[in-house]
Protein backbone atom coordinates (compact mmCIF):
# COMPACT_ATOMS: atom_id res chain seq x y z
CA UNK A 1 0.00 0.00 0.00
CA UNK A 2 0.99 3.59 -0.28
CA UNK A 3 3.14 4.99 2.45
CA UNK A 4 1.03 8.13 2.22
CA UNK A 5 -1.94 6.02 3.13
CA UNK A 6 0.10 4.47 5.89
CA UNK A 7 0.89 7.88 7.27
CA UNK A 8 -2.70 9.02 7.08
CA UNK A 9 -3.95 5.81 8.59
CA UNK A 10 -1.47 6.11 11.41
CA UNK A 11 -2.63 9.65 12.01
CA UNK A 12 -6.24 8.57 12.07
CA UNK A 13 -5.55 5.52 14.16
CA UNK A 14 -3.45 7.58 16.51
CA UNK A 15 -6.10 10.22 16.84
CA UNK A 16 -8.74 7.57 17.41
CA UNK A 17 -6.70 5.94 20.15
CA UNK A 18 -6.20 9.24 21.90
CA UNK A 19 -9.80 10.30 21.66
CA UNK A 20 -12.88 8.87 23.30
CA UNK A 21 -14.72 9.48 20.05
CA UNK A 22 -14.05 7.60 16.83
CA UNK A 23 -12.95 9.79 13.97
CA UNK A 24 -15.84 11.46 12.23
CA UNK A 25 -16.80 9.87 8.95
CA UNK A 26 -16.39 11.72 5.70
CA UNK A 27 -13.46 14.02 5.42
CA UNK A 28 -12.00 13.30 8.83
CA UNK A 29 -9.25 11.28 7.19
CA UNK A 30 -7.69 14.61 6.33
CA UNK A 31 -6.20 17.19 8.59
CA UNK A 32 -6.51 20.94 8.52
CA UNK A 33 -3.32 22.79 7.66
CA UNK A 34 -1.52 24.63 10.46
CA UNK A 35 -2.97 28.07 11.19
CA UNK A 36 -1.20 30.83 9.31
CA UNK A 37 -0.31 33.30 12.02
CA UNK A 38 0.93 36.71 11.05
CA UNK A 39 3.29 38.20 13.64
CA UNK A 40 4.71 41.33 12.03
CA UNK A 41 6.88 42.22 15.01
CA UNK A 42 8.11 39.12 16.84
CA UNK A 43 10.67 41.35 18.58
CA UNK A 44 8.74 44.19 20.18
CA UNK A 45 9.25 46.92 22.76
CA UNK A 46 5.73 47.74 23.96
CA UNK A 47 3.16 45.43 22.48
CA UNK A 48 2.63 43.41 19.37
CA UNK A 49 -0.21 41.72 17.58
CA UNK A 50 -0.79 38.24 16.27
CA UNK A 51 -3.46 37.52 13.71
CA UNK A 52 -4.66 34.29 12.19
CA UNK A 53 -5.06 34.48 8.45
CA UNK A 54 -7.87 32.93 6.45
CA UNK A 55 -7.81 29.16 6.19
CA UNK A 56 -10.23 26.39 5.28
CA UNK A 57 -13.71 27.83 5.27
CA UNK A 58 -15.60 27.07 8.48
CA UNK A 59 -12.48 26.61 10.61
CA UNK A 60 -12.55 27.80 14.22
CA UNK A 61 -9.19 28.88 15.58
CA UNK A 62 -8.27 28.78 19.25
CA UNK A 63 -5.17 29.89 21.10
CA UNK A 64 -3.48 29.67 24.48
CA UNK A 65 -0.09 30.17 26.07
CA UNK A 66 0.23 26.46 26.79
CA UNK A 67 0.24 23.78 24.13
CA UNK A 68 -2.27 21.43 25.78
CA UNK A 69 -6.04 21.47 25.79
CA UNK A 70 -6.42 23.82 22.89
CA UNK A 71 -9.80 22.36 21.99
CA UNK A 72 -11.20 24.35 24.94
CA UNK A 73 -8.98 27.39 24.61
CA UNK A 74 -9.94 30.95 23.74
CA UNK A 75 -11.48 31.43 20.31
CA UNK A 76 -9.55 33.80 18.07
CA UNK A 77 -11.66 36.83 17.22
CA UNK A 78 -9.62 39.42 15.41
CA UNK A 79 -6.03 40.19 16.24
CA UNK A 80 -4.50 39.00 19.52
CA UNK A 81 -2.55 41.72 21.33
CA UNK A 82 0.45 40.64 23.42
CA UNK A 83 2.46 42.78 25.83
CA UNK A 84 4.86 40.19 27.29
CA UNK A 85 7.37 37.74 25.92
CA UNK A 86 6.04 34.26 25.47
CA UNK A 87 4.88 31.57 23.13
CA UNK A 88 1.36 31.51 21.79
CA UNK A 89 -0.12 28.27 20.51
CA UNK A 90 -2.79 28.26 17.84
CA UNK A 91 -4.88 25.37 16.50
CA UNK A 92 -7.68 25.07 13.97
CA UNK A 93 -10.85 23.00 14.43
CA UNK A 94 -13.44 22.01 11.86
CA UNK A 95 -16.25 19.46 12.12
CA UNK A 96 -15.22 17.73 8.89
CA UNK A 97 -11.47 17.53 9.43
CA UNK A 98 -8.90 16.40 11.91
CA UNK A 99 -7.70 19.35 14.00
CA UNK A 100 -4.72 21.16 12.56
CA UNK A 101 -1.21 20.80 13.89
CA UNK A 102 -0.47 23.34 16.60
CA UNK A 103 1.30 26.44 15.41
CA UNK A 104 3.60 27.98 18.00
CA UNK A 105 4.60 31.62 17.69
CA UNK A 106 7.17 33.10 20.03
CA UNK A 107 7.31 36.82 20.61
CA UNK A 108 10.03 38.53 22.57
CA UNK A 109 10.10 41.85 24.38
CA UNK A 110 13.44 43.37 23.43
CA UNK A 111 12.99 46.70 25.22
CA UNK A 112 15.82 45.81 27.62
CA UNK A 113 18.05 43.99 25.14
CA UNK A 114 21.62 45.20 25.01
CA UNK A 115 23.06 46.77 21.91
CA UNK A 116 25.43 44.24 20.38
CA UNK A 117 27.73 43.62 17.47
CA UNK A 118 28.44 40.13 16.22
CA UNK A 119 31.66 39.04 14.53
CA UNK A 120 31.71 35.80 12.57
CA UNK A 121 34.47 33.30 13.27
CA UNK A 122 33.82 31.64 9.91
CA UNK A 123 32.10 33.08 6.87
CA UNK A 124 28.71 31.58 6.05
CA UNK A 125 28.16 29.56 2.90
CA UNK A 126 28.29 31.80 -0.13
CA UNK A 127 24.78 30.64 -0.99
CA UNK A 128 23.38 31.65 2.38
CA UNK A 129 25.33 34.69 3.43
CA UNK A 130 22.39 37.02 4.01
CA UNK A 131 23.45 40.58 4.54
CA UNK A 132 26.40 39.51 6.60
CA UNK A 133 26.94 39.63 10.34
CA UNK A 134 24.61 42.59 10.78
CA UNK A 135 21.68 40.26 10.07
CA UNK A 136 22.37 38.71 13.47
CA UNK A 137 21.86 41.95 15.38
CA UNK A 138 19.19 43.84 13.45
CA UNK A 139 16.25 42.56 15.49
CA UNK A 140 14.54 41.09 12.48
CA UNK A 141 13.63 37.46 12.06
CA UNK A 142 14.02 35.41 8.93
CA UNK A 143 11.06 33.58 7.51
CA UNK A 144 10.36 29.87 7.77
CA UNK A 145 11.14 29.50 4.09
CA UNK A 146 14.71 30.72 4.25
CA UNK A 147 14.86 31.32 0.52
CA UNK A 148 12.14 33.97 0.71
CA UNK A 149 14.01 36.04 3.31
CA UNK A 150 17.56 35.51 2.13
CA UNK A 151 18.88 38.72 3.74
CA UNK A 152 18.08 37.54 7.25
CA UNK A 153 19.51 34.02 7.27
CA UNK A 154 23.13 33.03 7.53
CA UNK A 155 23.80 29.36 6.82
CA UNK A 156 26.85 27.28 7.65
CA UNK A 157 27.80 23.72 6.82
CA UNK A 158 30.50 23.34 9.45
CA UNK A 159 31.05 21.19 12.49
CA UNK A 160 31.77 24.02 14.89
CA UNK A 161 30.88 27.64 14.36
CA UNK A 162 32.31 30.44 16.45
CA UNK A 163 30.79 33.87 16.98
CA UNK A 164 32.12 36.78 19.02
CA UNK A 165 29.57 39.05 20.63
CA UNK A 166 30.52 42.56 21.68
CA UNK A 167 28.05 44.53 23.75
CA UNK A 168 27.64 48.09 24.98
CA UNK A 169 26.36 49.66 28.18
CA UNK A 170 26.87 49.34 31.90
CA UNK A 171 24.65 46.33 32.46
CA UNK A 172 26.12 42.83 32.53
CA UNK A 173 24.45 40.14 30.44
CA UNK A 174 22.32 37.51 32.12
CA UNK A 175 20.76 35.74 29.18
CA UNK A 176 21.52 35.13 25.52
CA UNK A 177 18.98 34.14 22.89
CA UNK A 178 19.93 32.66 19.55
CA UNK A 179 17.52 32.57 16.64
CA UNK A 180 17.86 29.35 14.64
CA UNK A 181 15.95 27.61 11.88
CA UNK A 182 14.61 24.10 12.34
CA UNK A 183 13.73 22.70 8.93
CA UNK A 184 14.57 19.03 8.91
CA UNK A 185 13.31 18.54 5.35
CA UNK A 186 15.97 21.01 4.19
CA UNK A 187 18.67 19.35 6.33
CA UNK A 188 18.71 22.36 8.64
CA UNK A 189 18.61 21.54 12.33
CA UNK A 190 19.11 23.67 15.42
CA UNK A 191 22.62 23.27 16.78
CA UNK A 192 23.40 20.20 18.82
CA UNK A 193 24.94 22.39 21.48
CA UNK A 194 25.73 26.03 22.07
CA UNK A 195 28.32 27.07 24.65
CA UNK A 196 29.05 30.63 25.77
CA UNK A 197 32.49 31.57 27.06
CA UNK A 198 34.24 34.65 28.39
CA UNK A 199 38.01 34.46 28.41
CA UNK A 200 37.84 30.70 28.13
CA UNK A 201 35.42 30.39 31.06
CA UNK A 202 32.12 28.63 30.39
CA UNK A 203 29.20 30.89 31.38
CA UNK A 204 26.28 29.20 29.63
CA UNK A 205 25.31 26.14 27.62
CA UNK A 206 22.30 24.97 25.68
CA UNK A 207 21.75 21.45 24.33
CA UNK A 208 19.17 20.32 21.83
CA UNK A 209 16.84 17.39 22.18
CA UNK A 210 16.50 14.84 19.35
CA UNK A 211 14.33 16.05 16.49
CA UNK A 212 11.11 14.18 15.86
CA UNK A 213 10.42 12.66 12.49
CA UNK A 214 7.84 14.63 10.57
CA UNK A 215 7.98 17.69 12.76
CA UNK A 216 7.05 20.91 11.08
CA UNK A 217 9.63 23.53 10.27
CA UNK A 218 9.90 26.13 13.02
CA UNK A 219 11.73 29.25 14.03
CA UNK A 220 13.57 28.48 17.25
CA UNK A 221 14.81 30.97 19.79
CA UNK A 222 17.36 29.17 21.96
CA UNK A 223 17.35 30.48 25.51
CA UNK A 224 20.79 30.37 27.15
CA UNK A 225 21.06 31.65 30.74
CA UNK A 226 24.47 33.14 31.49
CA UNK A 227 26.06 32.72 34.92
CA UNK A 228 28.67 35.12 36.24
CA UNK A 229 29.09 37.07 33.02
CA UNK A 230 31.44 40.03 33.05
CA UNK A 231 31.86 42.98 30.67
CA UNK A 232 34.15 40.98 28.38
CA UNK A 233 33.05 39.97 24.87
CA UNK A 234 31.27 36.65 24.69
CA UNK A 235 32.45 33.83 22.48
CA UNK A 236 29.80 31.44 21.28
CA UNK A 237 30.72 27.94 20.18
CA UNK A 238 27.94 26.43 18.11
CA UNK A 239 28.14 22.68 17.43
CA UNK A 240 26.26 21.36 14.43
CA UNK A 241 23.79 18.50 14.80
CA UNK A 242 23.97 15.31 12.79
CA UNK A 243 21.01 14.00 10.83
CA UNK A 244 19.18 11.34 12.86
CA UNK A 245 18.54 7.74 11.82
CA UNK A 246 15.08 8.48 10.44
CA UNK A 247 16.37 11.15 8.09
CA UNK A 248 17.18 10.54 4.41
CA UNK A 249 20.66 11.86 5.06
CA UNK A 250 21.20 9.93 8.30
CA UNK A 251 24.63 10.43 9.76
CA UNK A 252 25.53 13.47 7.72
CA UNK A 253 26.11 16.87 9.25
CA UNK A 254 23.16 19.24 9.40
CA UNK A 255 23.29 22.84 8.32
CA UNK A 256 23.19 25.62 10.91
CA UNK A 257 20.97 28.58 10.02
CA UNK A 258 20.99 31.62 12.33
CA UNK A 259 19.09 34.88 12.04
CA UNK A 260 19.49 36.75 15.34
CA UNK A 261 21.43 37.05 18.57
CA UNK A 262 19.83 38.81 21.53
CA UNK A 263 21.58 39.65 24.78
CA UNK A 264 19.62 40.60 27.88
CA UNK A 265 20.89 42.07 31.14
CA UNK A 266 20.54 40.39 34.50
CA UNK A 267 17.11 40.97 35.99
Amino acid sequence: MKSRNSILCCLVLGAAMLSAQPPAIGHALFQLSPPAVNAPEPFFEDSTILEVLRGQEGTLYRYATVAEGLENATVVKGAVTARESGTFYFQGFHPDFQPSPIEAVTITDVARALTIRVALGQPPSSSYSGKGAQALSNRARGGLQFRTTPDEWLGWEVGTLRLQIYFEGEELPGKLMLGALDDTAAWIFPPKEVSAYQGGRLIGRWSSRPADKGQLAALRLLDIPLAGATAEPIELEVQAAYLPDWHDGAGQRAWIFLDEVLLFPND
Binding site: M1, K2, S3, N5, H27, F30, S33, Q56
Partner: protein, 337 residues
Amino acid sequence: MSKMKRRQFARQIGLGAAGVLAGSWLRQPGLRIGHGSFQYQVDLNWGALHKGFYPVKDAHEMVQDSLGRLLLLTNHTRNNFLVYNKDGRLLESWGTDFPGAHGLTLKNEGGEDFLYVTDTERNAVFKLTRAGREVMRLEWPQESGLYHAAAAYKPTEVAVADNGDIYVADGYGEQYILRYDSQGRLLQAFGGRPGLQNAHGVAIDTRQEVPTLLVTARQQQLLKRYTMEGEHLEDILLPGAFICRPVVHRSEVYLATIWSGDGRAGSGFISILDASGEMVSAPGGIAPVYGENGLEPMRQAVRVFVHPHDVCVDEDDNLYVAQWNAGGTYPIKLIRV
Protein backbone atom coordinates in the same frame (compact mmCIF):
# COMPACT_ATOMS: atom_id res chain seq x y z
CA MET B 1 8.69 -15.36 -10.42
CA SER B 2 7.67 -14.11 -13.86
CA LYS B 3 7.32 -10.40 -14.47
CA MET B 4 3.54 -10.57 -14.72
CA LYS B 5 3.14 -12.79 -11.70
CA ARG B 6 5.36 -10.46 -9.73
CA ARG B 7 3.16 -7.53 -10.67
CA GLN B 8 -0.02 -9.40 -9.74
CA PHE B 9 1.54 -10.44 -6.48
CA ALA B 10 2.61 -6.89 -5.82
CA ARG B 11 -0.87 -5.58 -6.37
CA GLN B 12 -2.43 -8.24 -4.19
CA ILE B 13 0.00 -7.49 -1.40
CA GLY B 14 -0.60 -3.78 -1.79
CA LEU B 15 -4.37 -4.06 -1.78
CA GLY B 16 -4.30 -6.51 1.07
CA ALA B 17 -2.19 -4.23 3.21
CA ALA B 18 -4.44 -1.31 2.43
CA GLY B 19 -7.46 -3.35 3.39
CA VAL B 20 -6.05 -4.52 6.69
CA LEU B 21 -4.62 -1.22 7.80
CA ALA B 22 -7.09 1.24 6.41
CA GLY B 23 -10.28 -0.71 6.78
CA SER B 24 -13.32 1.15 5.62
CA TRP B 25 -11.82 4.58 6.01
CA LEU B 26 -10.22 4.55 2.59
CA ARG B 27 -13.51 3.53 1.03
CA GLN B 28 -15.49 6.33 2.65
CA PRO B 29 -16.77 9.16 0.48
CA GLY B 30 -13.81 11.12 -0.78
CA LEU B 31 -13.00 14.64 0.09
CA ARG B 32 -14.01 17.24 -2.45
CA ILE B 33 -11.48 20.01 -2.96
CA GLY B 34 -11.18 22.98 -5.27
CA HIS B 35 -13.27 26.01 -6.02
CA GLY B 36 -15.87 27.26 -8.45
CA SER B 37 -16.30 24.97 -11.41
CA PHE B 38 -12.95 23.28 -10.79
CA GLN B 39 -13.74 20.87 -7.99
CA TYR B 40 -12.39 17.38 -7.54
CA GLN B 41 -12.87 14.27 -5.49
CA VAL B 42 -9.66 12.91 -3.98
CA ASP B 43 -8.64 9.33 -4.83
CA LEU B 44 -5.70 8.27 -2.70
CA ASN B 45 -5.73 4.71 -3.99
CA TRP B 46 -5.06 5.40 -7.64
CA GLY B 47 -1.83 3.84 -8.84
CA ALA B 48 -0.91 2.35 -5.49
CA LEU B 49 1.85 -0.22 -5.76
CA HIS B 50 4.04 -2.22 -3.47
CA LYS B 51 7.03 -0.03 -2.64
CA GLY B 52 9.25 -3.06 -2.37
CA PHE B 53 8.69 -3.94 -6.00
CA TYR B 54 8.14 -0.54 -7.57
CA PRO B 55 9.97 1.97 -5.43
CA VAL B 56 9.53 5.68 -5.95
CA LYS B 57 12.00 8.12 -4.51
CA ASP B 58 10.44 11.30 -5.83
CA ALA B 59 7.48 11.14 -8.20
CA HIS B 60 8.61 14.06 -10.29
CA GLU B 61 6.49 14.42 -13.38
CA MET B 62 3.73 12.76 -15.31
CA VAL B 63 2.43 12.85 -18.88
CA GLN B 64 -0.23 11.06 -20.90
CA ASP B 65 0.82 9.47 -24.19
CA SER B 66 -1.18 9.14 -27.40
CA LEU B 67 -2.34 5.69 -26.28
CA GLY B 68 -3.96 7.26 -23.22
CA ARG B 69 -1.39 5.74 -20.87
CA LEU B 70 -0.04 7.74 -17.96
CA LEU B 71 3.74 7.82 -17.57
CA LEU B 72 5.19 8.69 -14.19
CA LEU B 73 8.84 9.74 -14.01
CA THR B 74 10.69 8.83 -10.83
CA ASN B 75 14.31 9.30 -9.85
CA HIS B 76 14.52 5.77 -8.53
CA THR B 77 16.81 3.88 -10.87
CA ARG B 78 15.01 0.61 -10.34
CA ASN B 79 12.14 2.05 -12.35
CA ASN B 80 12.52 5.54 -13.71
CA PHE B 81 9.20 5.06 -15.49
CA LEU B 82 5.97 3.62 -14.16
CA VAL B 83 3.35 3.36 -16.87
CA TYR B 84 -0.32 3.16 -15.85
CA ASN B 85 -3.66 2.96 -17.52
CA LYS B 86 -6.28 5.49 -16.44
CA ASP B 87 -7.67 3.09 -13.85
CA GLY B 88 -4.36 3.15 -12.08
CA ARG B 89 -3.27 -0.32 -13.14
CA LEU B 90 0.44 -0.67 -13.76
CA LEU B 91 1.13 -1.61 -17.38
CA GLU B 92 4.90 -1.59 -17.39
CA SER B 93 7.92 -0.25 -15.60
CA TRP B 94 11.32 0.52 -17.04
CA GLY B 95 14.30 2.83 -16.88
CA THR B 96 17.46 2.54 -14.81
CA ASP B 97 19.64 5.29 -16.24
CA PHE B 98 18.37 8.52 -14.71
CA PRO B 99 19.38 9.07 -11.08
CA GLY B 100 18.48 12.74 -11.38
CA ALA B 101 15.33 12.26 -13.46
CA HIS B 102 13.37 15.45 -13.03
CA GLY B 103 11.47 16.76 -16.05
CA LEU B 104 9.29 14.72 -18.39
CA THR B 105 7.73 16.16 -21.52
CA LEU B 106 5.94 14.26 -24.25
CA LYS B 107 5.81 15.53 -27.81
CA ASN B 108 4.12 13.80 -30.68
CA GLU B 109 6.37 14.30 -33.69
CA GLY B 110 5.04 13.01 -36.99
CA GLY B 111 2.67 10.61 -35.31
CA GLU B 112 5.25 9.19 -32.90
CA ASP B 113 5.50 10.00 -29.21
CA PHE B 114 8.88 11.12 -27.92
CA LEU B 115 9.84 11.65 -24.30
CA TYR B 116 12.18 14.41 -23.19
CA VAL B 117 13.78 13.68 -19.84
CA THR B 118 15.93 16.12 -17.92
CA ASP B 119 18.45 14.70 -15.47
CA THR B 120 19.82 17.13 -12.91
CA GLU B 121 22.55 14.72 -11.83
CA ARG B 122 23.72 13.75 -15.30
CA ASN B 123 23.45 17.43 -16.32
CA ALA B 124 21.78 16.63 -19.61
CA VAL B 125 18.52 16.27 -21.50
CA PHE B 126 17.61 12.98 -23.15
CA LYS B 127 15.17 12.41 -25.99
CA LEU B 128 13.71 8.91 -25.86
CA THR B 129 11.26 6.91 -27.88
CA ARG B 130 8.17 5.79 -26.02
CA ALA B 131 9.92 2.46 -25.53
CA GLY B 132 12.85 4.19 -23.87
CA ARG B 133 15.45 4.14 -26.65
CA GLU B 134 17.66 7.22 -26.62
CA VAL B 135 17.59 9.12 -29.90
CA MET B 136 19.18 12.42 -28.92
CA ARG B 137 21.06 13.92 -26.01
CA LEU B 138 21.60 17.58 -25.16
CA GLU B 139 24.71 17.89 -23.04
CA TRP B 140 25.61 20.97 -21.05
CA PRO B 141 25.57 24.12 -23.19
CA GLN B 142 29.26 24.83 -23.19
CA GLU B 143 28.95 26.63 -26.54
CA SER B 144 26.77 29.30 -24.92
CA GLY B 145 29.75 30.68 -23.02
CA LEU B 146 27.48 31.00 -19.98
CA TYR B 147 28.62 27.87 -18.21
CA HIS B 148 32.00 26.99 -16.77
CA ALA B 149 31.31 23.31 -16.12
CA ALA B 150 28.71 20.65 -16.67
CA ALA B 151 27.88 20.67 -12.97
CA ALA B 152 26.51 24.20 -13.28
CA TYR B 153 23.84 22.96 -15.64
CA LYS B 154 20.88 21.30 -13.93
CA PRO B 155 18.01 21.19 -16.38
CA THR B 156 14.58 20.82 -14.86
CA GLU B 157 12.14 20.96 -17.77
CA VAL B 158 11.71 20.88 -21.53
CA ALA B 159 9.08 22.27 -23.88
CA VAL B 160 8.99 21.48 -27.58
CA ALA B 161 7.42 23.81 -30.14
CA ASP B 162 5.56 22.64 -33.22
CA ASN B 163 8.48 23.77 -35.40
CA GLY B 164 10.72 21.41 -33.43
CA ASP B 165 12.52 24.02 -31.35
CA ILE B 166 13.40 22.67 -27.92
CA TYR B 167 13.31 24.94 -24.88
CA VAL B 168 15.20 23.76 -21.81
CA ALA B 169 14.72 25.40 -18.39
CA ASP B 170 17.89 25.27 -16.31
CA GLY B 171 15.91 25.72 -13.11
CA TYR B 172 18.43 24.27 -10.68
CA GLY B 173 21.43 25.68 -12.46
CA GLU B 174 22.11 29.08 -13.95
CA GLN B 175 18.44 29.91 -14.57
CA TYR B 176 18.65 30.29 -18.34
CA ILE B 177 16.12 29.14 -20.87
CA LEU B 178 18.11 27.46 -23.64
CA ARG B 179 16.58 27.22 -27.08
CA TYR B 180 17.75 24.53 -29.49
CA ASP B 181 16.61 23.55 -32.94
CA SER B 182 15.20 20.11 -33.54
CA GLN B 183 18.67 18.76 -34.25
CA GLY B 184 19.98 19.94 -30.92
CA ARG B 185 21.90 22.99 -32.11
CA LEU B 186 21.85 25.80 -29.58
CA LEU B 187 20.05 28.84 -30.98
CA GLN B 188 19.94 31.19 -28.01
CA ALA B 189 19.84 31.53 -24.25
CA PHE B 190 17.72 34.01 -22.33
CA GLY B 191 16.52 34.64 -18.81
CA GLY B 192 19.11 34.00 -16.13
CA ARG B 193 19.46 35.68 -12.76
CA PRO B 194 18.28 37.94 -11.29
CA GLY B 195 15.14 38.17 -13.40
CA LEU B 196 14.57 34.45 -13.31
CA GLN B 197 15.02 32.61 -10.07
CA ASN B 198 14.34 28.90 -9.89
CA ALA B 199 13.13 28.71 -13.49
CA HIS B 200 11.68 25.34 -12.73
CA GLY B 201 9.20 24.76 -15.52
CA VAL B 202 8.58 25.75 -19.11
CA ALA B 203 5.62 25.18 -21.42
CA ILE B 204 4.31 26.46 -24.70
CA ASP B 205 1.02 28.31 -24.48
CA THR B 206 -0.96 27.67 -27.64
CA ARG B 207 -4.25 29.08 -26.41
CA GLN B 208 -3.92 32.15 -28.57
CA GLU B 209 -3.13 32.48 -32.24
CA VAL B 210 0.49 33.35 -31.58
CA PRO B 211 2.13 30.83 -29.26
CA THR B 212 4.13 32.09 -26.32
CA LEU B 213 6.37 30.58 -23.71
CA LEU B 214 5.34 30.24 -20.06
CA VAL B 215 8.13 29.91 -17.52
CA THR B 216 7.69 29.40 -13.80
CA ALA B 217 9.95 31.46 -11.55
CA ARG B 218 9.20 29.33 -8.53
CA GLN B 219 11.22 31.20 -5.99
CA GLN B 220 9.67 34.48 -7.07
CA GLN B 221 6.15 33.02 -7.08
CA LEU B 222 5.72 34.24 -10.64
CA LEU B 223 4.61 32.85 -13.94
CA LYS B 224 6.49 34.64 -16.71
CA ARG B 225 5.49 34.90 -20.32
CA TYR B 226 7.97 35.29 -23.17
CA THR B 227 7.76 35.33 -26.92
CA MET B 228 9.13 32.24 -28.58
CA GLU B 229 12.26 34.29 -29.23
CA GLY B 230 12.76 35.06 -25.56
CA GLU B 231 11.35 38.56 -25.25
CA HIS B 232 9.74 39.06 -21.88
CA LEU B 233 6.04 39.94 -22.19
CA GLU B 234 4.44 39.78 -18.75
CA ASP B 235 4.58 38.49 -15.19
CA ILE B 236 1.63 36.82 -13.53
CA LEU B 237 2.00 37.29 -9.79
CA LEU B 238 0.98 34.34 -7.65
CA PRO B 239 2.00 35.32 -4.10
CA GLY B 240 2.32 32.41 -1.76
CA ALA B 241 2.30 29.89 -4.61
CA PHE B 242 5.64 28.20 -5.33
CA ILE B 243 4.72 26.83 -8.74
CA CYS B 244 6.55 24.02 -10.51
CA ARG B 245 5.65 23.71 -14.19
CA PRO B 246 2.78 25.14 -16.19
CA VAL B 247 0.52 22.60 -17.83
CA VAL B 248 -1.72 24.13 -20.47
CA HIS B 249 -4.98 22.23 -20.92
CA ARG B 250 -8.02 23.60 -22.74
CA SER B 251 -8.28 27.25 -21.65
CA GLU B 252 -6.60 26.79 -18.24
CA VAL B 253 -3.10 26.47 -16.84
CA TYR B 254 -2.56 23.92 -14.09
CA LEU B 255 0.41 24.24 -11.76
CA ALA B 256 1.57 21.89 -9.05
CA THR B 257 2.40 24.21 -6.18
CA ILE B 258 5.09 22.60 -4.11
CA TRP B 259 5.06 25.00 -1.17
CA SER B 260 2.78 27.80 -0.15
CA GLY B 261 2.35 30.64 2.29
CA ASP B 262 5.66 31.16 4.05
CA GLY B 263 7.10 28.31 2.02
CA ARG B 264 7.19 25.74 4.76
CA ALA B 265 7.57 22.04 4.03
CA GLY B 266 4.43 20.04 3.35
CA SER B 267 2.33 23.02 2.36
CA GLY B 268 1.54 22.22 -1.27
CA PHE B 269 -1.65 22.52 -3.27
CA ILE B 270 -2.70 22.83 -6.92
CA SER B 271 -3.14 26.16 -8.71
CA ILE B 272 -5.52 26.54 -11.64
CA LEU B 273 -5.44 29.73 -13.70
CA ASP B 274 -8.01 30.77 -16.27
CA ALA B 275 -7.32 32.22 -19.70
CA SER B 276 -6.70 35.66 -18.22
CA GLY B 277 -4.14 34.33 -15.76
CA GLU B 278 -6.38 34.65 -12.70
CA MET B 279 -6.36 31.82 -10.21
CA VAL B 280 -9.85 30.32 -10.24
CA SER B 281 -9.35 27.26 -8.11
CA ALA B 282 -6.79 25.96 -5.65
CA PRO B 283 -7.45 22.32 -4.76
CA GLY B 284 -6.02 21.79 -1.30
CA GLY B 285 -5.54 25.53 -0.84
CA ILE B 286 -7.63 28.42 0.40
CA ALA B 287 -10.11 29.97 -1.98
CA PRO B 288 -8.29 32.43 -4.23
CA VAL B 289 -9.40 36.01 -3.62
CA TYR B 290 -8.45 39.06 -5.65
CA GLY B 291 -8.30 42.46 -3.97
CA GLU B 292 -6.89 45.86 -4.81
CA ASN B 293 -3.38 44.45 -4.94
CA GLY B 294 -4.23 41.41 -7.00
CA LEU B 295 -4.25 37.88 -5.69
CA GLU B 296 -4.17 37.71 -1.90
CA PRO B 297 -1.33 35.50 -0.66
CA MET B 298 -2.17 31.85 -1.12
CA ARG B 299 -1.58 28.99 1.27
CA GLN B 300 -2.60 25.43 1.92
CA ALA B 301 -5.94 24.87 3.67
CA VAL B 302 -6.13 21.10 4.05
CA ARG B 303 -3.30 18.60 4.18
CA VAL B 304 -4.15 16.53 1.12
CA PHE B 305 -0.81 17.06 -0.57
CA VAL B 306 2.72 17.24 0.74
CA HIS B 307 4.87 18.54 -2.11
CA PRO B 308 3.03 18.47 -5.44
CA HIS B 309 5.58 18.58 -8.22
CA ASP B 310 3.53 18.08 -11.36
CA VAL B 311 -0.03 17.80 -12.60
CA CYS B 312 -1.13 15.69 -15.53
CA VAL B 313 -4.59 16.42 -16.91
CA ASP B 314 -6.41 13.71 -18.84
CA GLU B 315 -9.07 14.12 -21.52
CA ASP B 316 -11.81 13.98 -18.87
CA ASP B 317 -10.13 16.82 -16.97
CA ASN B 318 -9.10 14.57 -14.10
CA LEU B 319 -5.80 15.45 -12.48
CA TYR B 320 -2.93 13.18 -11.50
CA VAL B 321 -0.60 14.78 -9.01
CA ALA B 322 3.00 13.58 -8.72
CA GLN B 323 4.84 14.58 -5.56
CA TRP B 324 8.43 15.26 -4.63
CA ASN B 325 9.69 14.29 -1.17
CA ALA B 326 6.44 12.70 -0.09
CA GLY B 327 7.58 9.45 1.41
CA GLY B 328 8.05 7.71 -1.93
CA THR B 329 4.31 7.73 -2.63
CA TYR B 330 2.45 7.29 -5.89
CA PRO B 331 0.32 9.92 -7.63
CA ILE B 332 -2.92 11.20 -6.18
CA LYS B 333 -5.82 11.32 -8.60
CA LEU B 334 -8.32 14.17 -8.45
CA ILE B 335 -11.55 13.24 -10.19
CA ARG B 336 -13.31 16.23 -11.73
CA VAL B 337 -16.84 16.62 -10.37
